[in-house]
Amino acid sequence: MITEAVQERENYLNASHGIKSWLLTKDHKRIALLYLHTITFFFFLGGIFATLIRLQLLTPKGGLVSADTYSKLFTLHGVIMIFFFLIPSIPATLGNFFLPMMIGARDLAFPRINLLSWYLLVIGGCFAMYAMLAGGVDTGWTFYVPYSSNYSNTYVIATGLGIFIAGFSSILTGLNFIVTVHRMRAPGMTWFRLPLFVWSNYATALIQVLGTPVIAITLVLLICERTLHIGIFDPARGGDPVLFQHLFWFYSHPAVYIMVLPGLGVISELVSVFSKKPVFGYKVVAFSSVAIAVLGFLVWGHHMFVSGQSVYAALVFSFLSYFVAIPSAIKVFNWTATLHGGSISYATPMLYAFGFIGLFTVGGLTGLFVACLGVDVHVHDTYFVIAHFHYIMVGGTIMAYLGGLHYWWPKMSGRMYPEGWAKLSALIIYLGFNLTFFPQFILGYLGMPRRYWTYPDEFQVLHVMSTAGASVLAVGYLMPLIYFMWSLRYGPIAGPNPWGATGLEWRTASPPPAHNFEETPVVTTDAYDYAALAAMEEAKVG
């Protein structure tokens, strides 16, 4: 009876019907769901590549795929996961859905551009898929010249165009977020009342708008070099291959923060809600996001300590890299302090937040190793680096993404997911992740280079552990896919605010009406004011 009543109420899901109402929608919530489907597809595609890589590496001589195929697998794994999953992941789904709602807006500032962003990602993805089906690409996701410009016989141009086009999707999303946060805040929603998820997405948007054009230019130059032989990178024509690396990392290092900053914002929300306490040091945490975004532009050369750049350039980049470590450390300390004296719930999103803090801490601390000149010379381009950035990208971003998805799922779908299964899968993911990637730190320190199709026998034990972990991880990732779909039909009805959260998105129905709020909310308190929320609930009951 109750079920039917909820389904009859008009919301963004049933406000209009038919495929056209989705493909031409201007509703940020529906666009977020379009993104959710798209990046879920790319996530599992990239995951299949990862699985094949790990199976090949189970034994020293491999034998599952050819050397050519292996090179294509790790290239496509990187390209798909970075450009078509991680970069859009949190901003384009959770950000798209909740950033307007959290500031009390009816939509993003430019709803049509928002829809265009999704189409650009899909078109870019089609180019990458074409390259994959036509024969693949084997340059590594880093496209280093002169291999990519003069030597590789694979589909470099199609892949490059795909990334080029998807880049515009990222730029436009960033632009939309910046304008929305500046112009569309509800009455009373001052900058220092913004939820920290909004702050971190705002900082991310700055990088998207300022950084992405540089990768676009770099890819255009690469395509020109490959087709017209303009000689900007080719030493035989007076070019400089190291220049490519400078341009590539000028975007691709900040891109790390495009991938991880929104995750840091999700964790700030989760830690607060599930301990019922305002985030400790709110302003410090907010500004640390902006500091990371700005400093992130100054450290690209730490990817090039052994590339032949000058010793003095290396010194400066190492020095600056340590600066970017501090705002990240500050966030971890503040989250920990938030827990002190709280009312801590062990709901699934909080388990992901705990997992995130642990894995992000390990990822960040091993970042100190690779920022350290004397150590990086040894571990550069080994499995140590692979382990380090997977702790940030997978242990950080994906844990935060899944934590956020569980947290906001009741709002998006109107239904609760099955808590027991969700806790189990969070645990499996955490254990599987560590089993997959921790051995790779040791492998790298022992000298195992990246991107090897076969390897000397002495590395096998650690590779077997890693492959075993990957199998566990795969199970952990498949479980949410299944129970989220199950919950759409059978999950318990969530109600407007199942977690007792303070954000504006929880003051409207689940799922929200097409225009988000019945009436424009007026903000009178800081973010995370649980006492005010309790008073308001009491007033309602009374």
Binding site: G281, V311, A329, T361, L365, V377, G447
Partner: protein, 316 residues
């Protein structure tokens, strides 16, 4: 060198373990101590504490600066080969390492060196970017087409060590591997005496004659259409546009392959390019010959910079 890198790693590891265990235990303690006991409980809000923020910014920052300075000093040692290092040339190509000793020995995917002797590698690539990586020595350097990069090490224990290419260079990247054999000095001498066809410099001298370089570059002091190449290595030469360039391996290489790029003052850009006529090995042989035209004592000291003072005794 390996030991100094490892000591630095132990320090970093100690810091990393301290912080990760500290954070883990704190969170675990808080999560148990402050677990939710009733849905309606409302904890006291705490909004922050600036002195705490400063404390946990300044202490990590201080630690990272120790890491930076320590790491930089190790890096300086790795980057600056000592003056008495034995020179070996490395050419990377898809997918093999070619190594050339000064005495003329050539090796493929194998490098024989004596124990206790510093070895400096001057490296270039015939095609894409490679990377010369010997994990046991904790050294690694990219090998680029069109220029020379260097690395060095001083092995302290005889044995057989992995040599890897660690910059992805195409399909058979995984097969661009080999071994470094560190030998007792007497074994090395025995190995050295077998099978060489003349030193690098003497091969270079033959090429110098074959290509009739001396027709323009008179080595007698008589004026020629090109500069006399004696006593130039390691010096600064003035160019036609007034700029100065160091007469080193990179400049000699460029002058052979792209002669009009940097013409010495007082000469016309009339030298033809030898691109396509000489291999990377030939270029190295010519460089060694031209270097031999400058006696050791006439060369300016190689490490005449501030880095010399920070050099520590190198150990494997």
């Amino acid at each position: 060198m390996a030991a100094s890198v490892d000591h630095l790693v132990y320090f970093l590891l100690a810091v990393a373990v301290f912080f990760s265990v500290g954070i883990f235990l704190t969170i675990f303690y808080f999560a148990v101590r402050y677990r939710r006991r009733s849905e309606s409980e409302l904890p006291v809000a705490s909004h922050g504490d600036m002195s705490l923020e400063i404390l946990w910014s300044v202490i990590p920052f201080g630690l990272t600066m120790i890491m930076f300075v320590w790491g930089a000093s190790v890096f300086f040692t790795i980057s600056r080969p000592p003056d008495d290092a034995q020179q070996i040339y490395v050419i990377g190509k898809q997918w093999m390492w070619k190594l050339q000793h000064m005495e003329g020995q050539r090796e493929i995917n194998e490098l024989h060196i004596p124990v206790g002797q510093a070895v400096k590698l001057t490296m270039t690539s015939e095609d894409v970017i490679h990377d010369f990586f010997v994990p046991a020595f904790r050294t690694k350097a990219d090998v680029l087409p069109g220029r020379y990069t260097t690395t060095w090490f001083k092995p302290t224990r005889p044995g057989k060590y992995h040599l890897f290419c660690s910059q992805y260079c195409g399909t058979n990247h995984y097969a661009m591997i080999g071994w470094v054999y560190v030998m007792e000095p007497q074994d090395y001498q025995a190995w050295l005496s077998g099978g060489a066809t003349g030193s690098l410099a003497s091969s270079g001298e033959k090429l110098f004659q074959t290509f009739a370089c001396a027709n323009c570059h008179h080595l007698s002091g008589a004026p020629g259409r090109g500069p006399d190449l004696r006593n130039l290595y390691g010096t600064q030469v003035e160019l036609a546009d007034g700029a100065h360039v160091k007469f080193d391996e990179d400049y000699i290489r460029e002058s052979i392959l792209n002669p009009s790029a940097k013409v010495v003052k007082g000469y016309q850009p009339i030298m033809p390019t030898f691109q396509g006529l000489v291999t990377e090995e030939n270029v190295l042989q010519l460089i060694e010959y031209i270097k031999s035209l400058t006696p050791q004592e006439a060369r300016p000291p190689a490490g005449a910079t501030a880095a010399t003072s920070s050099r520590k005794s190198a150990k494997q």
